[in-house]
């Protein structure tokens, strides 16, 4: 097995994962450096989301290694992994998955509240992130009252509010039209760069991937580093 590339923050080598007879991952490699935006591309069903889930410690691989800041994820306890997800990682999915009963600012502040930060301070930090994502005017609205593009930007603010070192985004523009998708990508990459967070950006759209620094392509559960394709 090969080792994680020097200087990488998060790296995986030789990942295998099967669901029954389906080989979702069949020897996938990955690495991302601090502050780097890496796109994970490939056809639907090729294993992109499974790769993201293994990298984030949500799903354990059948074999292979995942290291974050030099620590082996597969060797950690569940409690350690979930602590890592709360403090070091942020997540955005295709459908924002905001809590409908809470206002937008309460949604953004939620990860801080769960970490024990006082309400006033949490919402103050939340508002600063909402400003970066240009949704501060929606603070008092509920998710049902805002548009898809706005909701997605609220979700990005929530994913960054704890200052994660890695942002995992799975098809973050998948449910949006071109114009809103553009805005989400522009603001997401700007916000991530402003804190030097690494971004793992799963997408099947090339115009979205063009916001990344580098891409890998996953086909049939195997990854190909496109820098070596030329």
């Amino acid at each position: 097995m090969t080792h994680a590339p020097a200087g990488s923050l998060l790296a995986a080598t030789g990942l295998h994962k099967a669901y029954g007879p389906t080989k979702a991952l069949d020897g996938a490699d990955f690495s991302v450096h601090p502050g780097e935006v890496v796109a994970v591309m490939g056809p639907s069903g090729s294993g992109k989301s499974t790769l993201l889930h293994c990298l984030a410690g949500i799903v354990p691989p059948d074999s292979g290694s995942v290291t974050y800041a030099g620590r082996e994820l597969t060797a950690m306890s569940d409690a350690e992994r979930s602590a890592l997800r709360r403090t070091e990682f942020g997540f955005v999915f295709q459908f924002g998955q905001l809590v409908p009963e809470l206002t937008c600012v309460e949604n953004v502040a939620l990860p801080l509240r769960l970490a024990g930060v006082r309400r006033k301070e949490a919402e103050h930090t939340a508002l600063a992130w909402m400003e970066k994502l240009q949704v501060e005017d929606l603070a008092g609205q509920r998710p049902g009252e805002v548009s898809g593009g706005q909701g997605q930007r609220v979700a990005v603010a929530r994913s960054l509010v704890t200052g994660p070192r890695v942002l995992f985004a799975d098809e973050p523009t998948g449910a949006l039209d071109s114009l809103n998708g553009e805005l989400v990508m522009q603001l997401l990459t700007e916000a991530a760069r402003s804190t030097n967070a690494a971004v793992v950006l799963v997408t099947h759209e090339t115009r979205v991937a063009a916001w990344s620094d580098r891409e890998i392509v996953v086909r049939d559960g195997r990854s190909r580093d496109m820098e070596r394709a030329i």
Partner: protein, 174 residues
């Protein structure tokens, strides 16, 4: 792009010197390929000969660059006709890339590597355009988006071709 029609269109706003015209053209449309002076003056003398522009004044000193041009009524009509005519869509049926893929398959070389290499090259240009768009004004954004959507279409074709390589290999070797 028809440089004659573009220069005429720029003249509709008011008379300009040749140098001014070149500058306006480069600023709006010539970001990557600025006009050569020679091109401006040869185009203007053609438009002059066809009665689409006239010389509005000449500054002392001589030389062609001293001329100030104004659009004529015939010129305005010409711009209008050009704008109202739809452009012919590109048929895209003579694709070098398709030829390369078929030849790779016929000669037993890796078509997948060829497609992946092309894919990486396309994405590299898309990144450059995205960066320019991010830093640019609205005009830059629109020009870059036009290019980005076309490159994206190419890439979608590349993905589709890659997914059908096995089938294509059988057919081309028949």
């Amino acid at each position: 792009m028809s440089i004659g029609h573009t220069l005429l269109g720029l003249l509709e706003a008011g008379p300009r010197h040749g140098y001014d015209l070149k500058r306006a053209f480069d600023e709006k449309f010539g970001h990557d390929r600025p006009l050569a002076y020679g091109q401006v003056y040869s185009t203007m003398s053609r438009l002059l000969k066809n009665g689409l522009v006239e010389v509005d004044g000449i500054e002392p000193g001589g030389g062609p660059e001293r001329k100030r041009y104004a659009i004529t009524d015939a010129g305005v009509t010409d711009v209008e006709t050009w704008l109202s005519q739809p452009e012919k869509p590109e048929p895209y049926l003579q694709s070098t890339l398709y030829t390369k893929v078929v030849l790779a398959l016929l000669t037993g070389r890796s078509a997948q590597d060829l497609l992946d290499g092309q894919r990486a090259e396309h994405l590299r240009l898309m990144r450059i355009l995205t960066t320019r768009k991010r830093k640019g004004d609205l005009a830059d954004q629109l020009v870059c988006d036009h290019a980005l959507f076309h490159l994206e279409a190419d890439l979608r074709w590349l993905e589709l071709a890659a997914a059908r390589l096995d089938q294509l290999a059988k057919e081309v070797r028949r």
